[in-house]
Subunit: 296 residues, 2 copies
């Protein structure tokens, strides 16, 4: 009986489940909308049990990348719980235990962004790198951080979408979308912020729409701050908003402007096209990261 790994990418709006060994050996992959915890967890369990049977394979272990905030502290009573999420039905939900019980295999988990970073390190744009960041700019903004080869947790886990940026109110009077901080990075530059500001979805804005210059400025401010904080070897930008490929060259130029030659590294000064990049795994960073996490 062939052995495979299970992966789950748990997002606030959709769940991706997969059985795979690597990007070239994906046995099954399914997406479904996130509903109540009970219903969703039931669907996940069915996916794995049915596919194990129908393909006559054995799952070795399961990796999960989940939306959060998540309790990642093994010494905590709520280890493996989704904690203070704005999605009320999912607040204080034990995600790990019911899956572990039903499938009876080891379960590993981390934040959605850390897991996407793990995927990019294993098979994507950060292959072989020990220090880099993965930022997703979509419905929300979040960052996964790999330092010395390991994902960063710390007290809880990074929430890089909530740093403060400089907003020029005469150019952009928008109040900001974040319920906690109004005009933080996520409040100014997430998909919903773009939509509320311009009453159009991000993908509906023309490439020459003035909204993109603002977006580029906010992203470049954030990236220059992240470069000063983490000194990453690479920055990967994923998420729905970054599907707009025309943003990449503009973000690179603006980030260099903000750094103003302070960071004397060839990787940045002469090689920025390979420094700020899209995910090597496209929109599969998260689910393949979950497979990589399961494989350890």
């Amino acid at each position: 009986m062939n052995e495979y790994y299970g992966g789950i990418e748990a997002g606030g709006t959709k769940i991706v489940c997969s059985i795979a060994n690597d990007p070239k050996d994906i046995l099954a992959l399914e997406r479904f909308p996130t509903s109540t915890p009970e219903e969703t967890i039931k669907k996940i369990i069915s996916f794995f049990t049915e596919n194990q049977k129908s393909h006559n394979i054995k799952l070795v272990s399961l990796g999960i990348g989940s939306f959060g905030p998540l309790d990642l502290d093994p010494d905590s009573n709520t280890f493996g719980f989704i904690t203070s999420t704005p999605k009320k039905r999912w607040r204080n939900t034990n995600l790990i235990q019911p899956l572990q019980q039903a499938l009876n295999i080891p379960v590993f988990f981390d934040t959605d962004v850390n897991v996407a970073a793990i995927g990019e390190r294993e098979w994507g744009a950060a292959h072989g790198l020990d220090n880099f960041i993965y930022i997703t700019i979509g419905t929300g903004i979040g960052g996964g951080v790999i330092i010395n080869g390991k994902p960063v947790h710390g007290l809880i886990h990074p929430e890089m979408g909530h740093i403060r940026l400089i907003q020029n109110a005469s150019i952009d009077p928008y109040k900001g979308k974040c319920p906690y901080h109004k005009n933080c990075f996520e409040g100014l530059a997430s998909g919903p912020a773009i939509e509320e500001r311009w009453t159009k979805k991000a993908h509906e804005l023309e490439p020459n729409h003035p909204g993109w210059a603002l977006e580029v400025d906010y992203i470049a401010q954030a990236l220059s701050n992240f470069i000063y904080c983490f000194s990453p070897q690479k920055i990967i930008l994923g998420g729905g908003v970054m599907q707009q490929n025309h943003l990449f060259p503009l973000i690179r130029i603006k980030t260099l402007e903000y750094l103003n030659n302070y960071v004397q590294s060839e990787a940045i000064l002469t090689n920025i096209d390979h420094y700020i990049v899209p995910p090597g795994l496209g929109n599969l960073s998260g689910i393949l990261g979950a497979i990589a996490l399961a494989r350890n």
Copy 2:
């Protein structure tokens, strides 16, 4: 013959050398001004060779915390060099090799702020913690970062003093002191920025001087950003400006305001007095960190 460790804290204005085993067993400690590299390195070598003889001890190894930027990449041709520093005479100086050659013992080195963080972890305010940051606010502003028990280097090393902050020009029209970014964190809140803005040195400003409210605001903005980036278990604030102890309670309150309950951790929400703290080793974090680095 007793065995001891050597430590060097190399700053832009002064050098501290020590021979010690730990904070309770400091055999020798000397400070002298930083002059040319040749003269300074000669003085350092004399300190260690003479003290070895006069105390009849043997040095096992040497730890160095140095100003930078430093080349920390073991694969680089300029490994152990001070690189693009504004201190012209020290630019492209090999700090390690002449000391290694003269003393003939293993030499370990890192940035001044990473080494101070190592000292605080070994014997100070971060004892037992694997994830925390040490920020110095003085002539410059810099940060040392410990993640998963190890100092962060990455591409070069963090330069956390250069993140951008929000400046309200109607309250603070000061142009900023940073030669690269004008009004970044260091440009707004370092000792020289305070002195240029108010034409008085920081320690000459009365505790009720309006400059302190500005200073607290900038530091709290930076700390909330750092909390979102690193999710540290503790933040240690050292350096000359932070000798003003009255700043600590104000910084704690303002940081909580900026976070606005987003980070749901008791360490922050109910225990902030033990979360944002002065160095446990006072002004010896750097030199004792160098000893700790030498000990591994």
